[in-house]
Symmetry: C2
Subunit: 370 residues, 2 copies
């Protein structure tokens, strides 16, 4: 449970999956008010595909939390769930959990809350940054659960970004929306998208700074800190991808349009052939070129350049990996490297942070039943 | 090498990958003429991503074949290649191969040709059918190479459908285009698409039947035989998918539009989570519902029905797998079963034949370097 002394200004991004978990449906409704004072998170049951009953439980639990916390309006409480889907939430158990969480609330409980939302994560994901704001320094704090596309039944990307800065809602919204394409929307473990994904950004103004708006002089610097924080935590999520042994930064540049850049980056990020080549440490240019080719993006294959870090493996459409084989192999064997494609078709760009597809990924997801 | 005594009426479908192999570029050019007398296939080198040199080699080899075969116009010869991509074709070796193939031509050489185009295939894929045509019976014969999305470097779906019936080009085109969506365009091993995929349909008229046109009384029956043959061979390709242990027929019905039906079917067919669940023999409805949800298709999740063969595991949006667990487990453990989703949003339908994602798939594709 995350509780603010006063209602915080809030913005959020939720899963675009048509099948939305009950807490997402309720969260979307409540975010319309623009204020959130408490977030109630449970793991073990995603409350997804649970129909009207699931929604009723979510409402009931936030009402109980509000009552126990002395928050007058239950609409200031937002729920999040992660865990099994298609199973009704055990009401009594959750009720006990809400009471216990309220009883254990503490100003120093940040890491306990972080532990509480972990499911199949190998490590907790969080970061703390200082960001500049006029008069006094607000700071951003953030707890992220690296489930999401990683532990896909237990399975959700639940991200909470907290700041005590005083920030207007339009400013918060712009920070979040600007940072998403290069952070949580830029990560691909297996390309599946959960029913529960939630990114919530709360600013409660306790720092007492002058209101930060999109026109404030510090807006850019503050937004940059939030963006960097989101990106850092998103990278932790990929690093902790199921069975992952490498993190590859896929950079596509020189595309005609941002959509074309994204098509190429996503095709590579999702291609089982590229992802198994990453796993094998194989600088196999052909698979990458092939995926770019079927991505739907418009470009001239005869102008394509491909680099592994600073080693060029395709030059103007001709594979040259054999000439640089030793250096290319060395890059491909690293736990992290950058794969850059230049389409020479325009100026648009896209980036993805991608994990490899491994034997352990298949083992885990074929053995694991929720 | 496949040679007809006389030029055959020809239609073809090629890969839509933007990166097209030289033989595909040349094949597309030559198919404009509508007549093909010989097909020249090599394996070991895909002649893809080989630039102007690759195209020159492809032209040269078809010219050599034409000269050796006594075909006056080299434009009646179509090349196909499968194998490594991004490597220049060894000219001298290919030249020797063309001469050897011509020398070994024989009316009984069907299975030798089939062996010749196999790469990583575990078994040859072919079928023979009789189809009705007026006056005399033409018959369809077909050799398929199950590489394609299966052995993706060595790697191409090369399909040749041969009939001695006398068929008009519009009739051939309609047969091919009508049959593709439920055969070679409906199979998903890993979702990657080769630079060389080719499906060629040749009718040389040696059977002497009256010309079959789209208006002929036997058109429907003849087309049905071709369609059934294509579907049967496409299924062999999935069965021989790398590391595959199961073939799943994914059927989506009740979609608003054919595009929506295809979106849902493709999302499931490509989802690593669904495909590892298939491997694990796990009737996990949640992953399937989740993939349908993020597919982009419009439907109401609360109306969704899901069946494994005849066992209903989701009813009107509620997972009921626990009530039928033993029966559902039994179906999911079979080497082949049908997964049916009814979206109850319209009347459109799509089907995919899908292999599972296995530990052996990852092993093979991470160890294997071309």
């Amino acid at each position: 449970m995350i509780v603010s002394d006063a209602p915080a200004t809030a913005v959020a991004a939720f899963t675009t999956n048509r099948v939305k978990a009950a807490p997402v449906v309720l969260g979307q409704e409540r975010l319309r008010g623009g204020r959130v004072q408490a977030v109630l998170v449970n793991s073990g049951n995603a409350n997804a595909y649970t129909g009207a009953d699931g929604l009723a439980v979510a409402r009931e639990m936030t009402a109980l939390a509000a009552a126990r916390l002395g928050i007058a309006d239950a609409r200031l409480v937002v729920p999040s769930s992660t865990g099994r889907i298609g199973v009704q939430v055990p009401r009594a158990k959750l009720r006990r959990g809400v009471r216990a969480a309220v009883a254990q609330l503490s100003p120093d409980g940040f890491h306990d809350a972080l532990d509480g939302i972990m499911t199949t994560d190998a490590f907790p994901k969080f970061g703390v940054r200082q960001a500049p704001a006029r008069r006094t320094a607000g700071h951003g704090r953030r707890a992220g659960e690296g489930a999401g596309m990683i532990a896909p039944h237990m399975a959700t990307l639940l991200v909470y970004i907290l700041t005590d800065a005083h920030v207007s809602r339009p400013a918060l919204r712009r920070m979040l929306m600007d940072a998403l394409p290069r952070s949580f929307n830029a990560i691909v473990v297996d390309g599946d998208m959960s029913t529960n994904d939630t990114v919530l950004l709360l600013a409660n103004g306790a720092a007492g700074n002058r209101l930060l708006t999109p026109r404030s002089r510090q807006f850019g610097a503050f937004a940059a800190v939030i963006a960097e924080l989101m990106r850092a935590v998103a990278r932790m999520v990929v690093t902790d991808g199921e069975g992952a042994t490498r993190v590859i930064d896929v950079v596509v540049r020189g595309a005609r349009t941002p959509a074309d850049a994204a098509r190429v980056a996503d095709a590579i990020a999702r291609s089982p052939l590229c992802k198994t080549a990453f796993y094998g440490g194989d600088p196999y240019a052909g698979r990458v070129v092939c995926a770019a080719g079927y991505s739907g993006a418009r470009f001239d294959p005869a102008r394509l350049d491909v680099h592994l870090d600073d080693v060029q493996i395709v030059r103007r459409g001709v594979e040259v990996v054999r000439a640089v084989e030793r250096r290319a192999n060395r890059v491909a064997a690293k736990p992290a490297f950058t794969l850059t494609l230049d389409l020479h078709a325009g100026r648009a760009r896209a980036e993805r942070m991608v994990s490899d597809l491994t034997v352990d990924y298949v083992r885990f997801n074929s053995d694991y039943r929720t």
